[in-house]
Symmetry: C2
Subunit: 261 residues, 2 copies
């Protein structure tokens, strides 16, 4: 197994890798695995498309189930999106989860000139999708941001629609291409790699999403490894376009293989 | 203007051509225009993607505002879809408008093995989209039908999302390609042309949708003409991929041009 050799940095997805979506316990062995990784001095960052809560609440949840990363270790899309909005003078119409709204509190939202889609869950109503659509159609140059391009995630035993499908709906309706902020966007991975301080070819991304985690990391020159937890499905190992550098049963096995190499 | 010469058959879209969506009056001159067309013995069929009501209710509405076509003249997608479902032994999970349900009453819907998307309007909720998604993901070979591929339509002064964007969302989420029943599908236009009894090159399709009406008809060898009523927008006349054979202010003008040629 060559994917685990000479690893000088690790990026980890959160939901489906550290804990199962909807569960309040860590996936077995994952807390100890991250401790072993930290003890080995291999730097690690957490790279998530989570937008159903603020970064602060996400961290609270991680701490409550036994993890000890700091806010600086965690890279969710909303802070990255706020930076882009500010730098381009854009005022968003937000179709996001109510629990994520406060992460946008410093952003001017009057007289909006773009749309930001987060994981709005129940707020992805016909009415709200029409509002976002109508705003985009009213703009001379419609600008649409999607906080991640995921197709679906797993909650309990159910697969649930992620942001990607709703972004595709608005892309088609408005003849516009969404700008993805979050995985698998190269600028998002690039910012995390820069913070990690290691070249892409020395870094392994470990996630449960064959396209956004594994394929996205590979497109940036990293190795991509899929865990058989979270939204993993056996058919992912025969995915038509993405072949992972490795498949492991869970995070603990991945870290063991890295540390043994 | 060559598009109006030697016309031996006419296909008409209904909403946005005969009346404005949401309005209870015909578009000025359209009733008389259809009478003149019928008097001239040029055959006409009505080709609609309307799936917010049964064919019976649609006809009631048309008659109530002064039109006199019969049920046999009107081609909506649901009867065509029911034929396909029966012939392929498919049992649909329906995500359609409640007002259209009774057109499916003869179709076995137990233990569904495909999904049919109609213009579900408010029923396009996060919950219902997830149900359709989960069913598709549970099938070894997911089959998705979309009763039309329109991007949007106009209701009062608002542009409203049509079925197409929701079909794109499920296509992306499930890695499946929707089978479109209705405009702009070739098999749908083909069935109407066969009923009309005229070769495609002698037939003009008149509609307000530059892609589904005009582009769809052109793909089948017909001429496609766009009316400047309904969901028409001036930018349609510079559409990146579809160039209509003609643009007219309304149906009455189109019919006058055809009959004068």
């Amino acid at each position: 197994m060559s994917w685990c050799k000479n690893v000088k940095g690790v990026l980890l997805d959160i939901t489906g890798v550290l804990f199962e979506s909807g569960a309040s316990e860590p996936i077995k062995g994952s807390i100890e695995a991250i401790k072993r990784l930290k003890d080995s001095k291999i730097p690690v960052r957490f790279c998530t498309n989570e937008t159903t809560k603020t970064r602060h609440k996400l961290l609270q949840k991680l701490h409550s189930i036994g993890f000890s990363m700091t806010e600086d270790d965690v890279f969710p899309p909303i802070p990255a999106c706020c930076q882009i909005l500010k730098s381009r003078g854009l005022r968003p119409h937000l179709l996001v989860n109510p629990d994520a709204l406060s992460d946008f509190r410093e952003i001017n939202q009057e007289n909006p000139n773009c749309v930001v889609l987060g994981d709005a869950t129940d707020n992805f109503s016909y009415q709200n999708l029409n509002k976002a659509f109508q705003l985009l159609m009213s703009l001379e140059k419609p600008v649409l941001f999607a906080l991640g391009g995921g197709k679906y995630y797993k909650e309990g035993s159910d697969l649930i629609l992620d942001i990607g499908p709703f972004a595709k709906a608005l892309e088609y309706a408005c003849d516009v291409e969404a700008e993805i902020v979050g995985k698998p966007s190269k600028s998002f991975f690039g910012a995390v790699l820069q913070d990690l301080g290691q070249p892409a070819e020395s870094v392994v991304m470990i996630g449960d999403d064959i396209v956004n985690d594994v394929g996205g990391a590979q497109s940036c020159g990293m190795r991509g490894v899929q865990v058989r937890t979270g939204k993993y499905r056996p058919s992912d190992e025969n995915h038509p376009t993405v072949k992972a550098d490795g498949y492991v049963d869970n995070l603990a096995q991945a870290i063991d293989l890295i540390l043994q190499s």
